[in-house]
């Protein structure tokens, strides 16, 4: 086989492979256009908890975007990290307090004694549809807290935006 023939075969092969990838990506973007739009505009990317049937009767926490959260000062809100304490110690949002979802029932009484019910709380976990922040926020609302928000992007969105991260206990 001569060189020009092989070169032509290779270029057809690469063109077809690129077409397969491009076509599939276009379809994927079209199917998930709403999700991608939400992510790019900083809105919540849809949560399994929010979409659960039957949850419409329960009070749902309001979402808060990265832009809104980063504009707030530590005096205005109390940040709560709903992840396991090991993940919290590896890195958390500045001034955030650890309140793992799995420990809420044993720590709720102490928490209520320390934090007044009118305080604004912002709960986060590991992002990407992580449910712990929603579950913790709903539990806090049921316990009487009036203004509880969920930062659904959580630790990954905060860290990847280049914002400061604290390690260990605050």
């Amino acid at each position: 086989m001569n060189k020009p023939f092989l070169r032509k075969q290779l270029s057809i092969l690469l063109r077809d492979a690129a077409l397969i990838v491009a076509l599939a990506m276009l379809v994927g973007m079209a199917v998930n256009i709403r999700l991608l739009w939400n992510v790019w505009s900083g809105e919540i990317p849809g949560s399994a908890v929010l979409n659960e049937p039957g949850s419409e009767n329960e009070p749902l926490p309001m979402p808060i975007s990265l832009a809104e959260l980063s504009d707030l000062s530590a005096d205005e809100v109390l940040l709560l990290d709903a992840r396991h304490v090991d993940l919290y110690l590896q890195g958390h949002l500045p001034a955030a307090r650890s309140l793992p979802w799995g420990e809420i029932e044993s720590r709720l009484d102490d928490f209520r004694r320390e934090v007044p019910l009118h305080n604004t709380l912002v709960v986060y976990c590991s992002g990407y549809g992580c449910e712990d922040s929603f579950l913790l926020a709903q539990r806090l609302m049921a316990a009487g807290y009036e203004d509880v928000r969920v930062f659904e992007g959580g630790m990954p969105e905060w860290r990847d935006a280049g914002l400061p991260v604290e390690k260990g206990q605050p």
Binding site: L13, L14, D16, A17, L19, I20, V21, L23, A24, M25, V27, G28, M29, V31, N32, L35, L36, V39, W40, P45, G46, S47, A48, S126, G127, Y128, G129, C130, G153, P156, E157, D160, A161
Partner: protein
């Protein structure tokens, strides 16, 4: 001997196509969960994890379907080989960094360690090479 080679080639093609079609279908159901699995690798920035989660399952499904339909087998196996190479590099980087996470290779939340996934991807790579070379001999 030629008949044996032909059966072996078609088995590899169908197996590889079926695996990638299945892997794409199960991931396409939960793009947010899959984005979380990709984020565990700590390689891509936040938004790109969602873009990959939204598009990668469709690449897997299309390439897998083409292999099963015996149409455009060479470029489809090249795409799958390329994906496998990316998966192998990502999994190796996980192991080198000592991160122990679920690979997110199939259904989000299904548990499979990085080492198991790495060996499985090496096996898929062998299938992709056999399919690519075999299809070249047939001109498909």
């Amino acid at each position: 001997m030629n008949k044996f080679r032909s059966i072996f080639y078609h088995l590899c093609r169908l197996l590889l196509g079926g695996i990638f079609l299945y892997a794409g279908v199960v991931k396409v159901m939960d793009p947010v969960g899959f984005a979380g699995e990709i984020a565990n690798y700590q390689i891509l920035p936040y938004r790109l994890n969602f873009l990959v989660a939204a598009t990668l399952p469709f690449v897997e499904m299309l390439a897998g379907s083409l292999l099963m339909l015996n149409y455009k087998v060479r470029p489809a196996s090249l795409v799958i080989g390329g994906l496998n190479l990316v998966f192998i590099v990502a999994l190796s980087s996980l192991l080198m960094r000592g991160l122990d996470i679920d690979c997110g290779c199939f259904r989000p939340g299904a548990h499979s360690s990085a080492t198991t996934a790495l060996w499985r991807d090496v096996g898929f790579m062998v299938l992709a090479v056999v399919t690519f070379v075999g299809s070249g001999r047939r001109g498909t």
